[in-house]
Symmetry: C2
């Protein structure tokens, strides 16, 4: 038994509880809060965050960490908690309070400027704010420290254990293979099936979402499913994982695939070991790993031919008039219809990651001091034309479409693609291990798959960094291969061609 | 400008924010939380409460209060904040931490014992826990201190500024007048109209509740209306006041009058001046004053003949089959049907306060060391027969029906009746001041009444203690007279007799 651990534990539990309150404030803000409560909420969230920061950076925490670094009596979970806490602690103490404050203030201004700039489709409104914010983020990265290059420090916030060099190599492999493949697939694509746009009662969509989430294994006694303009998943604490979906009267597929995606996140959170949840290592190890679960359920499962075959009759029961005449083939094609689109969030599985790689390369160039913020619009438009094959009409449909940079979330974009690549690799491995997943999906059965994910991924929480966990699961470092093969197989089948 | 005030203000704002988080945790627990989140939530709430307690009892707060007590530069609102904060501070520091912990632990046990005891209808299961808890509450009262008698200290928690002597005198006047009046009314009562029990679609009830709340002035952009098993109102902060109602398929009136009652509370909260909300004096001055608003809307407005005449056609539109044949006279009689019931929460306007006075007298006797907890069941049954005129069948329908004592809420019961008496007096005064309220209610118009309440009560927040505010509004000390006259007039009219 470790005395330093016993001294630290009450602080860990306090941090867990404060964080749970902070998460509830955030969930409620997005899913429940009435509009006039916004001011009150902003104050409450800032205060709770300041309290959490003060607890985390208390000198007693630093002393306990010093002692525990050399404590041989800790078990594996305790060692992982200490490792993760040390990381959180150091990131928190290394950034001077003035810089923290400056970034918070500048972020608020930049976000305001972004909403204005996007409405006016004029990057110049955002440019000065964004220039300052990128500079502050560089200072932050330098304060935290890095070895190989500055972007590592940003990446480390969302993908601890991954390095820029590795990600860049993975993305180069990806885009090398993806661009010709995407061109071939897009050339083969025909008109989208008409059921993709219709008039679908939103209450019925909500009922369908509830059914689907439960069917895939979401435990409604240990969470909630609500609606919000931007779907998200938020773990409040052990036994309380909340997801949202959204509904669009005109587009049934949006809510269906939003709920499958978020259920993927929620199943991961519900699969974390209860005794670890809330403590430092009782969380998902990276955003990319989180995204691997949402993408796997949304795409490898939800957009597969066997699962769309299973799904369609259920949708027809609810919407007999709108979908009665749709064939399984049409439905599967409609669910997987690829398009050259300007907007990332509307992009399909084929082109989505081209959008992400573009953003990663641009932000990386800025942190390498190879690109000025002022030159972003031109660099963006040029890269869009070269990779996705379309030219933005204006700033709003180009460089201004995402809020990420204006809220200071530099280093975040790659997590989407890391998730995509992990998802394809994990699914292939699960199918190898289990065999016969297709037959099960055709019957809507996903229990064995979920079991495999629970055993191989969810139950490990953050006991290992994400890249180590991925290697452990796959038996090799994750790469772009499985994803490219997956796309090739899927679209060869859909368009009856050899890719 | 006061330097001590400027030093104190950030702490006040921090306390406001922490309290807002605590309220959201509590609201969510009752209205949204999935069952498996209960453990996580209990921890989070305890931690947030401990943080609030530590901030409130910080020695710096005590020092600032010392300085501010003699600070002549404060404006009236600041003086009120200082007065209320001093009260909160002293109540918080005078109780030793061990006693706080002992009460918290004992309460958890007593509440568990109460649920078991009630299920088994056996007071002896609760008796030892309740005996200890009453003893601890006596110690707490003594630690806080009191002048005339111990119960003052308990009362002061819910009704600051009221004394046991005053309440006892008011309640004696009330029960002296109410018992013969209730007997006369109950003798005149006929069979309840059959629409009181039916089959009312719950979604339609919810729509009706939303309409009613908005119609009475509830601002849905500054709050929410949800459902929960026990209706309640919770202010989260300025611009965010949440109420709940509940629905019972069999009883339309339950949800209708629950939502009118809670809207009364919510209108009060929404009428507090925004610049004060969250600071010490920016809240309602007592639970009785709060209850005066819910009772006034529920009874003086909602159960009045003109308002029931207004309401019925709206209900008929939603429930044409169930209510189509009900006459305005039947509806009004049904809404005001009196009965001798064993259970307080099912009691009508006539008998309700007899239930409350009974509880007040019993708990007062215990704090005066004139009654043992062990003797509660017999004392209860005897008092029920004498005052309400019915004999409990068992402990469950008698002494075990309410949770209040088992959760340590001694001194709480009188607030219900204080609210009732205030409500009748305020409504009479408003009608004198404004004239013609009946005609407006018949048209469903309540704007002038709400305006009067905003001006005379809501806008004052806690700048004055409740009894002072009541005297200021009424021009005289509040008593039982207006309520007794109100009942006499109402039931003389309903049963066509002279009471």
């Amino acid at each position: 038994v470790s005395k330093a651990w016993d001294r630290l534990l009450p602080t860990l539990e306090e941090l867990r509880d404060i964080s749970s309150a902070a998460r509830l404030l955030a969930w409620d803000q997005a899913a429940m809060m009435p509009p006039k409560g916004a001011g009150t909420r902003a104050h409450a969230m800032a205060t709770i965050e300041a309290i959490a920061h003060a607890r985390l950076t208390d000198p007693n925490v630093g002393e306990a960490l010093e002692e525990l670094a050399e404590d041989q009596s800790l078990d594996d979970a305790q060692k992982a908690h200490v490792r993760v806490l040390r990381r959180d602690f150091e990131r928190a103490i290394k950034v001077p309070p003035e810089l923290v404050r400056a970034i918070a203030e500048r972020t608020a201004h930049a976000y305001q400027a972004w909403t204005k700039a996007r409405a006016a489709s004029d990057f110049s409104i955002l440019e000065p704010e964004l220039t300052t914010l990128f500079d502050l983020k560089k200072q932050e990265a330098d304060a935290i420290g890095w070895e190989e290059e500055r972007y590592d420090s940003l990446l480390d916030q969302y993908e601890p254990g991954s390095t820029t060099v590795e990600i860049e190599a993975m993305f180069t492999e990806l885009s090398g293979g993806l661009r010709p493949l995407a061109d071939a697939i897009l050339d083969a694509a025909r008109e989208p099936p008409s059921f993709r746009h219709g008039d679908y009662d939103e209450d019925k969509q909500k009922s369908l979402c509830n059914w689907l989430a439960s069917h895939l294994g979401f435990d409604a006694d240990g969470g909630r499913l609500d609606t919000s303009p931007h779907p998200f998943t938020m773990p409040i604490g052990d036994g309380d994982v909340r997801q949202t979906t959204f509904t669009d009267r005109k587009a049934l597929l949006s809510s269906i695939y939003a709920v499958i995606h978020e259920t993927g996140h929620a199943l991961y959170e519900q699969g974390l070991p209860g005794e670890l949840v809330g403590l430092p290592a009782g969380r998902v190890p990276s955003l990319g790993m989180h995204e691997s679960q949402s993408r796997l359920w949304e795409n490898q499962v939800g957009r597969s031919r066997p699962f769309t075959n299973f799904l369609l009759p259920h949708l027809k029961e609810v919407f007999p008039e709108e979908l009665g005449m749709v064939t399984p083939e049409e439905f599967h094609r409609g669910v997987n219809h690829p398009e050259r689109t300007l907007i990332r969030i509307y992009a399909d599985e084929v082109t989505y990651n081209l959008h992400v790689v573009l953003r990663f390369r641009l932000e990386l160039a800025i942190f390498r001091d190879e690109l000025e913020v002022a030159d972003l619009p031109d660099a963006w438009d040029e890269a869009m034309l070269r990779t996705v094959g379309v030219q933005p009409e204006d700033d709003a449909s180009g460089v201004l479409q995402d809020m990420h940079w204006s809220i200071g979330a530099m280093g975040y974009f790659p997590t989407y693609t890391i998730g995509t690549l992990y998802a394809a690799a994990f699914y292939r491995k699960a199918d190898e291990d289990l065999g016969g997943l297709d037959d099960e999906l055709r019957a809507g059965k996903t229990e064995r798959l979920l079991d495999w994910l629970r055993t191989n991924i969810h139950s490990h929480a953050y006991l290992l960094p994400a890249p180590e966990l991925a290697r452990k699961v796959l038996g090799e470092p994750p790469g772009a291969g499985p994803f490219l093969e997956y796309l090739r197989a899927k679209y060869s089948d859909i368009y009856g061609m050899s890719l």
